[in-house]
């Protein structure tokens, strides 16, 4: 799926495995996400979706296989085929290009919305304060929350918190965005506002990997839907194909439960 210019795909996983002690959580995941593509990951609880996302930005260390983001091995230096563990500084440098949005928002509780968005550009990239503040305000505007710039997370609704969290991730100008069930912790009436922000982001050409149970969103926005179960990719393809005409029994039984 590499682009005509020969640029590497944004994300490429080759036989990724992950074990916690003796528990095998990922059992050889291979997939590719091209630039500007939106991939939705679906699958039952415990199938390893979150673990896979966390491996992508090296919050978890994979046990075997290879993970490339934009052509680079994540978390290791590849020196003549052997992988050398990275200095934490270099791993941090890789992570700053990958935005992550969590199920439980994880906004910094002691910082206002604006401070949350400003923190990483200011501290990690060394953007001048005034510039960072201006750009953060523009991002809050993009998610429709300029009026809440001075509010602390505890004073925001779940939907608002998640939109701030998206703005915070965007502030680092990532080339890849990871979403781990961004709407699962939200009251039903707040889901729409977050999905709208994500749709707009997809339309702007952001490359996204989204773990979600929102089948409507997957159908409308995703270029590819991947169904995972028990640490393996069972089925993947265009949303239409996977969601309406699944080939595997496991996919069918999962979909019949969530739809």
């Amino acid at each position: 799926m590499s682009s005509p210019t020969g640029a590497p795909p944004m994300l490429r996983a080759e036989q990724v495995c992950k074990e916690f002690d003796s528990l095998r959580v990922l059992k050889g995941i291979s997939l590719e996400v091209a630039r500007g593509e939106v991939m939705c990951l679906i699958g039952p609880s415990g199938s390893g979706k979150s673990t896979f996302l966390r491996c992508i930005n090296h919050l978890e260390r994979i046990t075997s296989g290879r993970l490339y983001v934009d052509g680079e091995v994540m978390g290791y230096h590849d020196r003549g085929g052997r992988l050398h563990e990275m200095h934490p500084r270099d791993a941090a440098a890789q992570r700053r290009d990958i935005g992550m949005v969590f199920q439980r928002f994880n906004l910094f509780g002691h910082r206002t919305a604006l401070e949350n968005v400003v923190e990483a550009p200011l501290r990690v990239k060394g953007v001048p304060r005034a510039d960072a503040a201006r750009r953060a305000m523009a991002l809050l505007d993009r998610v429709g929350l300029t009026s809440k710039a001075d509010a602390y997370p505890a004073q925001l609704s779940g939907g608002q918190q998640q939109r701030v969290a998206i703005a915070r991730a965007l502030a680092m100008e990532p080339k890849l965005m990871l979403f781990d069930e961004p709407t699962s912790a939200l009251d039903p009436e707040l889901v729409g506002e977050v999905l709208d922000v994500m749709k707009a982001l997809a339309q702007d050409g952001m490359t996204m990997v989204v773990v979600t149970h929102e089948m409507g969103f997957a159908r409308e926005v995703a270029d590819t839907v991947v169904f995972m179960d028990d640490g393996v990719v069972v089925e993947s393809g265009e949303p239409q194909a996977v969601l309406t005409d699944p080939q595997h029994q496991r996919t069918r039984s999962f979909l019949s439960k969530v739809l």
């Binding site: 500084r89 002691h110 206002t112 005034a130 503040a133």
Partner: protein
């Protein structure tokens, strides 16, 4: 109907009388409370009267010695001991807590052993040991083991009893501070450091800017306790032996006046004054770290930031 007999305002159809009338409740009687209060007030009055008229309290001595220069100097020493020992304890305690939570087994167990020793033995005994430090170690050398020495410090002349007292108190207290800090750090959700890491913040930035500030809300109240307790524990440094702090100094003065009671009162008055000041300090510190939890108002720093953002946009 209003019990006070005031005429009730005319009720309209939408505003029935009971919506306009303030609820006027007959308060429940609490005879037990009243009786207890009376007993306590009477007892306190009797005690104060007795204390004021009892000559053994020696109020004239109390007044004479409260601001005696020896006492003031001793009070200063007590305060310095407390401040230095606590600063040391906080720095070492934070390090121990971080070691305890680190993935490195050697660091973890070193921290554990430190706690085991310093919490497991009485502070008085530790202070006696520190007093004997210069007997045990004649000099401290900075250099390469079995190699050249760059600097030598004679413990006898280089370390005063005041230094040893501070070291002894700080090392003991560090063990308790470590546990307080560890509880504080563990109280911050994992998601906070995970989000910071995912944004590309370094471990140190994550700790110092995200985790520790939020842990402070849990750390400060018990630390306040520890400071106050430290203020009083300084009276044990006679074990070193350091004798120029408040308790020992006032006791020494009492042996000249042959009446210990007024001097005990003098010392207590100073301890109380310092404790009160510390409590005020703790109040402001807690308020400072309450951003985002109890206080809705954004911090000054946050407001400055949003002003900057708006100025740039205009």
């Amino acid at each position: 109907m209003a019990r006070s007999g005031q005429p009730a305002p005319a009720a309209t159809e939408t505003d029935p009388a009971y919506l306009q009338e303030r609820i006027d409740v007959v308060r429940r009687r609490r005879p037990g409370n009243t009786a207890a209060a009376v007993v306590l007030v009477v007892a306190a009055a009797l005690f104060l009267y007795g204390a004021a008229t009892n000559p053994t309290y020696g109020w004239s001595d109390f007044a004479r010695y409260l601001f005696d220069w020896r006492v003031i100097e001793a009070a200063r020493n007590t305060l310095l001991l407390t401040v230095f020992a606590m600063l040391g304890a906080v720095v070492i305690g934070v390090s121990l807590a971080v070691m305890r939570l680190s993935p490195n087994r050697v660091l973890q167990s070193s921290s554990w052993v430190y706690l085991w020793i310093f919490r497991g033995t009485p502070v008085y005994v530790q202070l006696v040991f520190w007093g004997l430090f210069s007997t045990i170690y004649k000099e401290l050398r900075l250099g390469i083991p079995f190699g050249p020495t760059f600097a030598t410090l004679s413990t006898e002349s280089g370390l005063t009893v005041f230094h040893l007292a501070v070291i002894g108190l700080a090392l003991n207290e560090a063990a308790y501070m470590a546990e307080i800090v560890r509880a504080g750090l563990s109280s911050v959700e994992d998601g906070q450091s995970e989000a910071a890491t995912a944004l590309g913040l370094s471990w140190w930035q994550t700790m110092s800017r995200i985790v520790l500030p939020q842990a402070m809300r849990v750390i400060i109240p018990p630390t306040g306790n520890e400071v106050i307790s430290m203020l009083k524990t300084t009276s044990l440094v006679t074990a070193v032996p350091y004798s120029l702090e408040l308790y020992t100094r006032t006791r020494d003065i009492a042996s000249e006046t042959f009446n210990p009671i007024p001097m005990l009162l003098v010392a207590s008055a100073w301890y109380l004054l310092f404790t009160s000041l510390l409590m005020v300090g703790q109040f402001y510190l807690e308020r400072h770290f309450a951003h985002g939890s109890t206080r809705a108002r954004p911090s000054r720093r946050a407001r400055a930031l949003s002003r900057a953002a708006q100025k740039e946009q205009a």
